[in-house]
Symmetry: C2
Subunit: 201 residues, 2 copies
């Protein structure tokens, strides 16, 4: 690894000396690792909370069981969480390997792959959370104009656990959003042109 | 504006000569302008399609009117489309100004502002589309397990128009996703370090 740290930088592009760059790189890598670990843990937690959620209720002597498969949006959220957890596990291993080796990402195809994966995961998890949250709002509040009745007064425990799962998944998707910005930084700085002199638009 | 085009680039970071950079910049700016115009047009179209949607139906001699305010997700989508249209209008003017002046974005605070705005808009529009699409699925298919009946067989014309509005909004959010990648490129290449010699992680 080689930080020459000689920055030719006219205009308002700052000079990055070796030490400065090293500090930024270390911070980026540590933040990335922490976020990926958080995502891994919370995605599994979210999937388990929703996937194992079940509540039986006897209505007019007929037992009815509420389970997450009753709502397609919850199935989608469990799948999205599963994918996010698996993806994060692979990325955590890569991050640890990178920190042990002390290497920095300067490989464009790999940077593109990580950037694309992170973007895809951020949008996927956010879409899943939005759809599940919308379903949860209907379940919680109902929609009287359409005569869709609220079901959370019947299945209170079920709804609470779904709510916890959605909250966990929301943190996953917000962390993925931050990560996708980090991987965008790691990728596009490889296209840096320190020679350009700029104007303010 | 000054493209010196002298690239010092060891490892696998390619050399960008002045002409090459100019071509990339021109393509990026034209793509950005086209996308922002598409977003402006389709966001307005989506908002109008959903916002003006209304269908009256006489059920047991009582007239019932379906309108977009019956579903909070559609209200959210109309607002998101309105914000996207207003934001894009400002950005289109900035792009045109930038093309007329022939300037390139090298101002970090402005690049950060555009990056943040684009990211926010991409996630906002995608969330709104996902929530509205989930509501539309319930309206179209119902959810028999929860005794939520489908309403699109009663309000066919209303549902079709909402569907068109959601399709239009989906293109808006996909375009915003591409734009947010472009603005990430425009921002983070300012942090480029052409001096780093890289390893493959």
């Amino acid at each position: 690894m080689n930080y020459l740290g000689i920055g030719v930088s006219p205009g308002n592009v700052p000079v990055y000396h070796g030490d400065n760059l090293k500090v930024i790189d270390r911070r980026v890598r540590v933040t990335e690792l922490v976020l990926r670990c958080i995502i891994f843990g919370l995605a599994i937690l979210g999937a388990i909370l929703i996937g194992t959620d079940k509540q039986a209720k006897v209505i007019f002597s007929i037992e009815k069981i509420a389970k997450f498969t009753d709502m397609k949006a919850l199935v989608f959220l469990v799948i999205a969480n599963g994918l996010a957890a698996a993806y994060s596990l692979v990325q955590v291993l890569r991050c640890i390997l990178s920190i042990i080796r002390g290497t920095v990402l300067f490989n464009k195809p790999l940077a593109w792959a990580i950037f694309s994966g992170d973007q895809l995961m951020a949008y996927l998890t956010l879409t899943a959370v939005a759809a599940a949250a919308q379903s949860a709002v209907f379940a919680k509040l109902g929609q009287t104009e359409l005569q869709w009745m609220k079901i959370c007064n019947m299945y209170g425990k079920f709804c609470n656990q779904v709510g916890e799962g959605i909250a966990s998944s929301l943190i996953v998707s917000l962390s993925m959003i931050v990560l996708s910005a980090i991987s965008a930084f790691s990728l596009f700085r490889l296209y840096g042109n320190s020679k350009g002199k700029g104007n303010a638009i």
